[in-house]
């Protein structure tokens, strides 16, 4: 549960890695995998009108468009649901999205994209299907997220104790450092939650 902070990286990096992964099933772009493992979005399946043979360039363009859209998505948007839904509806939406994006149902040449998208859907589901994590996520969204701790991070701090109690001290020693960093970037304008998170993660890792 610890490594949820994978939806990260800057938008520019994201474009960097779109092209190579689009046509190979396994390549992991060197420069970006640490912080952008999930950023390559599959285009939304364009229903039955999806062209069978698209020139490579055209395909990439389509992907870029959808990627921009998907990186801005909230967990609710990833599951295709409004923020007011109940738990059973979240579960149902998750299964619907899984039917859409699970790599098992992907066209053979787009397994990689579908895998990445599915992992994002999974993360959204895991957060929203857990009432306490969802509450934290909602609160952060409502606040426009001024804290460095996302709902996910805080959740991990709590959950992690079970098997990582010996790491606790190490974690706490870094808390003050993290708080200090978060002070420096509390104003992020009107970006979406996801974009803000990614920006933050990227900034702070660049600071190292």
């Amino acid at each position: 549960m610890r490594c949820h902070g994978m939806v990260s990286g800057s938008d520019s990096r994201f474009y960097l890695c779109t092209k190579p992964t689009f046509f190979t099933t396994r390549s992991i772009p060197d420069s970006s995998y640490f912080r952008v493992p999930l950023n390559i979005q599959p285009p939304k399946p364009v229903s039955s009108t999806r062209p069978r043979v698209v020139p490579l360039k055209a395909k990439a363009t389509i992907a870029d468009g959808f990627v921009t859209e998907a990186t801005e998505m909230s967990f609710y948007e990833l599951l295709g649901i409004p923020e007011s839904v109940s738990l059973p509806e979240i579960k149902q939406a998750y299964k619907q999205q899984a039917r859409k994006y699970h790599p098992d149902v992907s066209p053979p040449d787009r397994v990689e994209e579908y895998t990445r998208r599915f992992i994002m859907v999974q993360e959204a589901y895991e957060t929203l299907s857990d009432p306490s994590r969802r509450a934290l996520y909602d609160r952060d969204m409502a606040r426009g997220l001024h804290l460095a701790f996302s709902a996910r991070k805080r959740y991990q701090d709590d959950e992690g104790m079970e098997y990582r109690s010996e790491w606790k001290n190490r974690w706490q020693s870094q808390l003050s450092e993290l708080k200090r960093r978060s002070m420096n970037k509390s104003s992020r304008g009107n970006m979406s939650w996801g974009a803000r998170m990614r920006r933050q993660m990227n900034d702070s890792s660049a600071e190292l």
């Binding site: 549960m1 610890r2 490594c3 902070g5 994978m6 396994r26 992991i28 060197d30 420069s31 995998y33 640490f34 493992p37 999930l38 039955s48 999806r50 069978r52 059973p88 579960k91 149902q92 998750y94 299964k95 619907q96 899984a98 039917r99 699970h102 790599p103 098992d104 149902v105 066209p107 053979p108 040449d109 397994v111 895998t115 599915f118 992992i119 999974q122 460095a148 701790f149 996302s150 991070k153 098997y163 010996e166 790491w167 190490r170 974690w171 870094q174 993290l178 960093r181 978060s182 933050q200 993660m201 702070s204 890792s205 660049a206 190292l208």
Partner: protein, 571 residues
């Protein structure tokens, strides 16, 4: 045979072109290789059908006998009597031996089988041999399984009148990734391509998802999520799964499993009938094997009878002067197997805890596998799950293979006009995967029961100043002690000189939907946004045999000079 009807159906779909260029145009068959029994099933265009051998059996014994020059297996072989399997010439229980080393307790328990299992107790593959014309002829579990699979394949090809290449196999939850590679190798030896390896209860879960969807269709129901617990216990293994199912999607929430099964129950029974049986049979002479076979058959028979009657009279002449004449009642039987039943209970409880479900949350409890006939097993499952209703209308011996056949059809891209194949299994990893760090500690990176595909990463750093290398030693398991987990492989990564704690060593684990594990590692130095050296990407497992001593050898060679510690991930 003409092109089967189903390709026409799939061609009418929007992505017909992709389908026809796909590497798997045929319907993959499902195979359930059990420790003691085996079956094959296939989607025949409208439903799942179990294939029968020439003797009209759907369920065949899993064994290979080396009596003549050409070995023959339980698919085609006609046995004159059950004793023949236990004559020393036949190898069985392959599934309990495959991919295990000779220090493994499961291998040691197999030494009382009526063929030769030799151990040197140094962590290498055990030596197994069949008695052919009074000579112990050596073989390997992989070879035996491959011979058996060749027979299965030939039988299926005759029945289906087409070549068979693609298969979906069901396997125990507790199989290590190393054991999975052995199974894949056996299939390759038999000319079969593994499309999927499914944990057995997840195959049952898929069948359940299909049945549930059909019911919903018929009743026009809401199709809301149903939580089911699946308990599957055969001769070799006990597996449990909790699945959340709706609309044909089976989401595996948790898995647990162990190498306990009917074989353990049988051995306990044999020990109960003849207390010194193990030491007696270790000699493995012709007469001992004969006695062992007689005892085995008698014990097996008694266990079967105790499922339907409160006590059983065992009367057997072991031929070596000792006669057993004993009445065994159900209470005694349950007492000698108490540990087995306790383990079953703990597997169910653990699985429910991992899935975060209570007995009240369970819509259905499904009990399958040969051991599901044992009253004590039924009672303990009903007790924990607080239900009286565990009959799901599924055949306990056929459920897993039917699920595998469904997955085979789905994975082959077959579609069904009635929606019977609108199914999806969302699998989970049965075991945690991590590396050695923080001293000799197992640090999981992917926790058990994580949904796959998955990608998780963790940051580590060096423990010494100017440490120029780090050793990434990858394990799988959930044991507290590092060395009790399964070693999957290891590699080194170079690090530029720096004070300890400065380099960031990022270790990422990636499992794709086909359950292929890749471990990626890279080093980032402060002030540089990009990795300083090319990343390492290693497909695991890399080890060629299940050698726990590799880890010891590494420790001897390197000590702690290349160790890592975990780092709180920077936000």
């Amino acid at each position: 045979m003409a092109e089967p009807a189903y390709t026409v159906t799939s061609d009418s779909e929007t992505n017909g072109e992709e389908k026809s260029s796909s590497a798997f145009p045929e319907t993959a068959i499902g195979i359930d290789i059990g420790t003691s029994q085996c079956s094959i099933a296939v989607w025949n265009g409208s439903q799942v059908e179990l294939l029968k051998n020439t003797r009209n059996q759907k369920i065949m014994r899993s064994y290979v006998t080396f009596k003549d020059e050409t070995p023959s297996g339980g698919v085609s072989n006609q046995l004159s009597h059950e004793h023949e399997i236990f004559s020393g010439a036949a190898i069985f229980n392959m599934k309990r031996l495959i991919g295990r080393v000779d220090t493994d307790p499961v291998v040691h328990a197999s030494k009382s089988l009526p063929f030769l299992v030799q151990t040197l107790d140094i962590g290498v593959r055990p030596f197994i041999a069949a008695l052919v014309n009074n000579v112990w002829r050596s073989t390997t579990p992989e070879e035996v399984l491959a011979i058996f699979l060749v027979e299965l394949r030939a039988m299926a090809e005759v029945r289906l009148k087409r070549p068979i290449r693609n298969v979906v196999l069901t396997l125990p939850v507790s199989f290590s990734r190393f054991q999975l590679t052995r199974i894949e190798r056996c299939c390759a030896m038999a000319g079969l391509h593994v499309l999927r390896l499914m944990p057995e209860p997840t195959a049952v879960a898929l069948l359940y998802a299909q049945q549930q969807q059909q019911t919903v269709h018929e009743n026009m129901g809401s199709g809301s999520e149903q939580i089911a617990l699946i308990f599957n216990m055969g001769a070799g293994y006990c597996d449990v799964a909790v699945t959340a199912t709706a609309g044909g999607v089976s989401q595996i929430k948790s898995l647990s499993g162990s190498a306990i099964g009917g074989e353990d129950i049988l051995q306990n029974m044999m020990r109960h009938l003849l207390p010194n049986s193990e030491s007696l049979f270790l000699k493995h002479g012709i007469s001992e094997i004969k006695s062992m076979a007689l005892l085995r058959v008698a014990a097996q028979d008694a266990i079967h009878k105790l499922s339907s009657q409160p006590s059983v009279q065992v009367d057997v002449d072991l031929g070596n002067g000792s006669k057993i004449c004993k009445v065994v009642d159900r209470e005694e039987f349950e007492e000698v197997n108490q540990k087995v039943f306790e383990k079953c209970e703990s597997l169910i409880i653990q699985c429910m805890q991992d899935a975060k479900v209570e007995a009240e949350d369970l819509s259905d409890v499904i009990l399958v596998g040969g051991c599901s006939y044992i009253p004590k097993i039924r009672n303990l499952v009903m007790g924990i799950c607080k239900t009286q209703d565990i009959s799901m209308g599924m055949n306990p011996l056929e459920a897993a293979v039917c699920g595998a056949a469904l997955e085979g059809a789905v994975a082959s891209g077959i579609s069904d006009p009635f929606g019977n194949l609108d199914l999806l299994t969302i699998q989970a990893t049965p075991m945690s995967i991590g590396i050695q760090a923080d001293g000799k500690t197992f640090v999981p990176i992917i926790q058990r029961n994580t949904t796959i595909p998955a990608r998780k990463e963790l940051v580590f750093t060096t423990v010494h100043d100017n440490q120029t290398e780090a050793l990434i030693v990858v394990y799988e398991g959930d044991e507290k002690k590092l060395e009790e987990n399964n070693l999957l492989g290891y590699f080194k990564i170079g690090i530029p000189p720096a004070p300890k704690g400065i380099p960031e060593i990022n270790v990422c684990m990636d499992i794709d939907a086909s359950n292929v594990l890749r471990v990626l590692a890279g080093v980032i130095m402060p002030g540089t946004p990009h990795p300083v050296t090319p990343l390492m990407e290693v497909r695991m497992p890399t080890i060629d045999d299940g050698h726990g001593w590799c880890a010891e050898a590494l420790h001897r060679a390197y000590g702690s000079t290349r160790d890592l510690v975990t780092v709180q991930k920077k936000i």
